[in-house]
């Protein structure tokens, strides 16, 4: 089969690899019909995720058709159309029983490695480093799904791939980020980062009853999307002082909840921005946290800071005094996707949300290396790329690919 393989920082190759096989009784194999590039894949692309090995197959947002099931998988049959959650969860351990699926105790074969870095190991993830299991990812034509009787959700035929694909990660991730804010009537929620997760957090905050949502980014196209899709007020941090603007907008109190949908590669101007870049380059801190710092400072007393953005290791100059003295609640976690699949699918079926809205580019799997670069550099206002594993490589000129590949809403 064809797969998008990682060989190092900014080195991807779409090449032929062996087809996956059933390895355990609870495995299933899916023929992938759509697969997406996640913002967190860019951290791997940029070389910031530890525990990657050359030869790893990337991708954790995918859906497809079941083509083979192991003897212990009884709820799926060949031909079922499923969306697959990015964390791998057994469904039986202490955490799975509490619907904390991304903390599954049994799905990471390299748990001891993760324990060295974080104290305890979370669940294994698809295509996201050997710290998290080293499972082959889904930017490929086929994928093996462990514990297939727990993860994948069957989706109705009348919904298109792009309507349901994002149930695999970014929609539940944005939704959980908003849910963790414990939104009450009248609340203002500020969201740093208007990539797909940020956009879903903004939309979800609205669905959960936020009075106002403030979107913070520096790319006009993304801010436009936030205001069009979820009626968010927008702040471009290259043009205004975000802290000051938030104070003015909230009567000097600060937002009731702040969401950091940026994560470890945040951008900042001035001395702190240079400081972080330097420290990260020297390996003195693994992650750059300007958005998190600002969110903690901006949040109102007794408010909640919710962090769906990915941090991998160590960050520096976190104003922890603000957490203590302002009595903040900090919530985070990899998304417990399995818990959200059914309720969010219902929202899609009811028409409360059309997740396809975030898609800006649709390309063949072969073009993954170019798609990563384009997504990373926000070329052509790229927000979300969907890769089609079975599409022929377009023979048209690159410029034309953009035109034909883009979905206009």
């Amino acid at each position: 089969m064809k797969a998008n393989v990682w060989y190092g920082k900014e080195q991807l190759k779409v090449e032929s690899v062996p087809d996956p096989k059933i390895l355990n009784p609870r495995d299933a194999i899916v023929r992938i019909t759509s697969t997406a590039i996640c913002g967190s894949d860019l951290h791997i692309y940029d070389g910031y995720i530890p525990g990657m090995l050359p030869g790893d197959i990337l991708g954790h947002e995918f859906m497809g058709e079941v083509v083979e099931v192991g003897p212990e998988v009884r709820n799926l049959k060949i031909g079922d159309r499923v969306v697959n959650p990015f964390p791998i969860a057994c469904g039986a351990c202490f955490f799975c029983q509490q619907s904390l699926h991304s903390l599954c105790e049994n799905s990471n074969p390299n748990a001891w490695l993760a324990e060295k870095l974080w104290g305890h190991s979370p669940a294994g993830l698809f295509g996201y480093s050997h710290l998290l299991g080293g499972f082959a990812g889904g930017q490929a034509q086929y994928a093996r799904i462990p514990f297939a009787d727990v993860g994948p959700i069957k989706v109705p035929e009348d919904l298109s791939d792009e309507q349901v694909l994002f149930l695999s990660d970014v929609f539940p991730t944005g939704y959980m980020a908003a849910e963790q804010c414990n939104i009450r009537p009248g609340d203002t929620v500020a969201v740093w980062g208007c990539g797909p997760v940020g956009l879903f957090a903004i939309k979800s905050a609205r669905l959960l009853g936020a009075e106002r949502v403030i979107a913070i980014d520096r790319f006009p196209a993304r801010l436009r999307k936030a205001s069009q899709w979820a009626d968010a007020e927008t702040l471009n941090y290259e043009q205004v002082d975000v802290r000051e603007a938030l104070e003015v907008m909230t009567g000097g109190r600060g937002p009731d909840a702040c969401i950091d949908a940026v994560g470890m590669e945040g951008h900042a101007h001035g001395a702190f921005g240079t400081y972080d870049k330097l420290k990260q380059a020297l390996w003195l801190e693994s992650d750059r946290p300007p958005a998190l710092r600002q969110a903690l400072m901006a949040c109102r007393n007794g408010g909640t800071v919710s962090i769906p953005g990915v941090y991998g290791g160590f960050v520096d100059k976190i104003p922890f005094g603000a957490v203590v003295n302002k009595a903040l609640t900090v919530r985070s976690g990899q998304t417990h996707v399995q818990r959200y699949l059914r309720p969010l699918l219902e929202l899609i079926e009811k028409g409360s949300i059309d997740p396809g809205f975030v898609v800006t580019h649709r390309l063949a799997l072969e073009e993954a290396p170019r798609a990563y670069r384009m997504f990373r550099d926000k070329e052509d206002s790229c927000i979300k790329v969907v890769l089609q594993p079975w599409a022929d490589v377009p023979t048209v000129e690159p410029e034309k690919v953009h035109e034909t590949g883009r979905i206009l809403h």
Partner: protein, 341 residues
């Protein structure tokens, strides 16, 4: 999830620990905390070890930041090798200064010293650099002596004790536990059927029940060797505890117990293994296998994890046999050795 309450490197302060007793009820129950001597950790690194740790850090920093200068100073040639040496020194330094189990890190220094001595001896044979190389060689030899002294002092101090009733030397005591979402009875029943053990004990090839109390064990040893021993059950309380000891001096002398404690509020079972064992190849061997992650501590930790996986999910998660692109040498080796999945 799994807890490890002792490290062999804690050896020197472990003199009170005397008898093999499995675990006495109440002595180390789920809530009773750690038993004193046997589980004591290293309080602080002694000044010698600390000194060696900082020495590693300084030399490492210099070799990484200014490899050419250190090359000039020591009469060596390759800045690339010097950088690698520096990385090695930094790793050892961090290990010594931060880890509670010092012995493997000190042994790693000894191995590194040997390499350095060899490199310097070669440099000594070259013209024009002899003077500096000789001075460096003398300095490294001195440090090597200190390293060797510190490493053997740490490792040697726990040798020579014997658990009563076990033939052969059993030098190291360790304990580990894991929480399993199954009842103590289910856990006990699975464990008591010895033919199940190779399913989750990675190095075990087979267990054959000889009679009611005795069983014959066959396991893969390090470097394609094979270990065999006979054990007898010394305690068997259904749903609560199993204890055993080896009968013959096979090089794998060990005595241990596994207890199944009901966790509170229906949270399943805490499975607690305690083990006295005698490392093959003595102290040096123990230090080396620990560096490779094939030591009994890591093995018990992983075997307990696999026990939990089999009990809770009916299978052990794996990636062995899945597709990938071309692997580098490092990737192939780590997967081959089972270091990473």
């Amino acid at each position: 999830m799994a807890t490890d309450v002792t490290q062999p490197g804690s050896g020197r302060s472990r003199s009170q620990h005397s008898a093999f007793s499995g675990i006495e009820p109440g002595g180390l129950g789920a809530h009773a905390g750690f038993r004193g001597g046997g589980l004591a950790r290293r309080d602080t690194a002694d000044s010698l070890e600390r000194g060696l740790g900082w020495f590693s850090m300084c030399l490492g920093a210099a070799a990484v930041a200014a490899p050419r200068w250190v090359c000039w100073l020591s009469g060596l040639r390759s800045p690339t090798v010097m950088r690698l040496v520096g990385t090695r020194e930094l790793t050892a330094g961090i290990g010594i200064l931060t880890q509670s189990d010092l012995a493997p890190w000190l042994w790693s220094r000894v191995v590194g010293d040997t390499f350095d001595l060899a490199a310097l001896s070669i440099a000594l044979g070259r013209r024009g650099r002899r003077g500096r190389a000789a001075v460096a060689l003398a300095a490294v030899a001195g440090v090597t002596a200190l390293d060797l002294f510190a490493a053997t002092r740490l490792t040697g101090s726990r040798a020579g004790r014997t658990a009563p009733g076990v033939s052969g030397r059993t030098d190291i005591y360790l304990e580990r536990s894991i929480a399993v979402s199954k009842s103590p009875e289910e856990c006990y029943r699975f464990w008591r059927s010895f033919e199940n053990l190779p399913r989750f004990m990675q190095t075990l090839e087979s267990v054959q029940q000889l009679d009611e109390r005795r069983a014959r064990w066959v396991a893969k040893g390090p470097m394609a060797t094979r270990l065999e021993w006979t054990s007898e059950i010394t305690a068997d309380r259904p749903g609560e505890e199993l204890a055993w000891r080896t009968l013959d001096d096979s090089g794998a002398a060990n005595a241990g117990s596994v207890r199944f404690e009901a966790a509170p509020a229906g949270r399943g079972t805490i499975v607690r293994v305690s083990l006295h064992y005698s490392p093959r190849g003595g102290a040096l061997g123990a230090g080396l296998v620990r560096l490779l992650g094939h030591d009994p501590q890591s093995r018990i930790r992983e075997d307990l994890r696999r026990f939990k996986q089999v009990m809770e999910t009916g299978e052990i998660p794996t990636t062995r046999g899945q597709p990938s692109g071309r692997r580098s040498l490092f990737g192939r080796v780590t997967r081959q050795w089972g270091l990473m999945s």
